[in-house]
Amino acid sequence: MKRPAQWNFAASLVERLGHGSELLDAPSGERFAAAELSTAIADFAATFAAAGLRHGDRVLIGCNLRPLSSLAYLGAMFGGLVAVPVNENTLAGSGEALARKTRARAVWTERGIRPDWAARCGLSELEGRPPRAGCDNAAPAACSEHDLAALMATSGSSAAPRLVKVSHGNLIANTEAIIRSQRLGRDERALLILPVSYCFGASVLHTHLWQGGAVVFDSRFTFPDKVLRAIAHYGCTSFAGVPTAYQILLRRSNIRSIPLPSLRRFLQAGGALGVASIRQMRAIVPHAGFFVMYGQTEATARISCLPPERLADKAGSVGVPLDNVMVRIVGADGEDVPAGESGELCVAGKSISAGYLDEPEETRRRFRGGWLATGDIASRDADGYLWITGREGEFLKMCGIRVGFAEIEASVAAVPGVLECAALAVPHAEAGEALALFVVAAAEADDVIAAVRRGLPAKCICDSITRVAQLPRNAHGKLIRSQLPRLARHALPGDEIRARASESSRPAEEISRT
């Protein structure tokens, strides 16, 4: 049985800090060494308390890619508050709605952004470094396993973000399981280009500090060579990125010539990265393991992980569940489907959150009897590996046959010359719906559209294939499918293929046989 303070995630994390623990800002070289970390976290807790915040109060934390905001986030938890990490760039625009929804009592920003709504909503405004509280061993707040530690915005591309209620127990369970799945040692240093307001970024911060390691923040991924050089300069062992980050490394950086001798692992989550891109990354940096992972904010962060040694024979899989996550694949009747068959992926365990803030209906729909219905359509093979084949609602229905966007996109991404692609359903007179494809291709791939068309599954009725410079993505690199139709108007000159596929002009009877 844990003592109450031990359920305080930030307090447990502080206890585990070691000599190698530090937070660094790569561009400036600013550094919070081991001893300063625990002091700063306790000072933040003291500052929040001095501002009148009490156990369970919510505080908005304006997050950026520098160390201080991560310390404010951990300091809030340490003091028994509920941290609401939010990207500081979005505070001006969406902060007021978030403040009202969370009924937050304070907002902290590093540079004192002072949003005009803060006073209107009655929020205390805090900024910058906390003053030294004068006591080195400030006691953490006692928390129970189920006390809320953070409200995390969902990162999905669908509609408005929801706030997930993440408890201290959720964070401890997920952090420990991730460490085991990634085999993190006691001497790790992560290079982080993801903010802590995104659960993937938060999980990297948590796991590396929990192991007594370090995190190097770098806000310069606009110029990826700088980040690659920082990995080498600071001796980083882990790099975490969403699929877009790896696409940028492969296409828009000098990763082929910048040595990364210290790197042990690439961590990839936040959507599917094509198998061809993963193979390229492996070939360029063969000494670093490539960890493909799957997760959801609703499950704190990570759900499954593909061990790098199985990358070859399980390419395209999201791996096996973390060792404290249970999995079911459920059919439309609510019963488990046999191995190899598709159904909705449902997960349970101590890292599954309690649901959404103030959304009882959606919480009831997604969280049933201790199981989280992920909304992802998946199958599990005989070896227990999970394969995501689609997303609830993300499919085409052509002549009565359902085909998942994910399945189509995976097959198109395998065509040589294709870098990224996205599928969309468009109305079709005979088939009900047809496929509209958007493809980002290598500059030298001239006949890529024809190759994509030839490679489409026979059951697909293709309306159009449009070559575009890039796909619309949100700040976390997630595809914004609703913006795809606009791309048709911005297609690369000369490359847009709007000619109706020959299939679509055939009579319906004939289509149904293809």
Binding site: F221, F223, T244, I248, R252, A469, Q470, P493
Partner: protein
């Protein structure tokens, strides 16, 4: 130089929907919220369309502000003019 800057401003408008007048020779990524890693890719495509050139990876890395962008574009256009004159 002024002419190139005006066309660079137009490329910024196409990429980020910015007011052309708000882009000066001293503008840096931190001044425009959308000028992040993905925004840089959008901007590069927009500049490539505007000037009918292509940038290599090293040139993308050097585009740390509008002044550098103008310099890189001018150098490319000059090389192109030279090649035409030699023909």
């Amino acid at each position: 130089m002024q002419h190139v800057l005006a066309r660079v401003q137009r490329a910024f408008s196409a990429a980020f929907d910015t007011d052309p007048g708000s882009i000066t020779i001293n503008t840096v990524p931190g001044d425009i919220r959308a000028w992040d890693s993905m925004g840089h890719v959008t901007l590069a495509s927009s500049l490539e369309q505007e000037f009918a050139v292509t940038f290599d990876v090293d040139e993308l890395m050097e585009m740390e502000n509008v002044r550098e962008i103008v310099r890189i574009v001018q150098a490319k256009l000059a090389r192109f003019d030279q090649a035409v004159a030699c023909r």
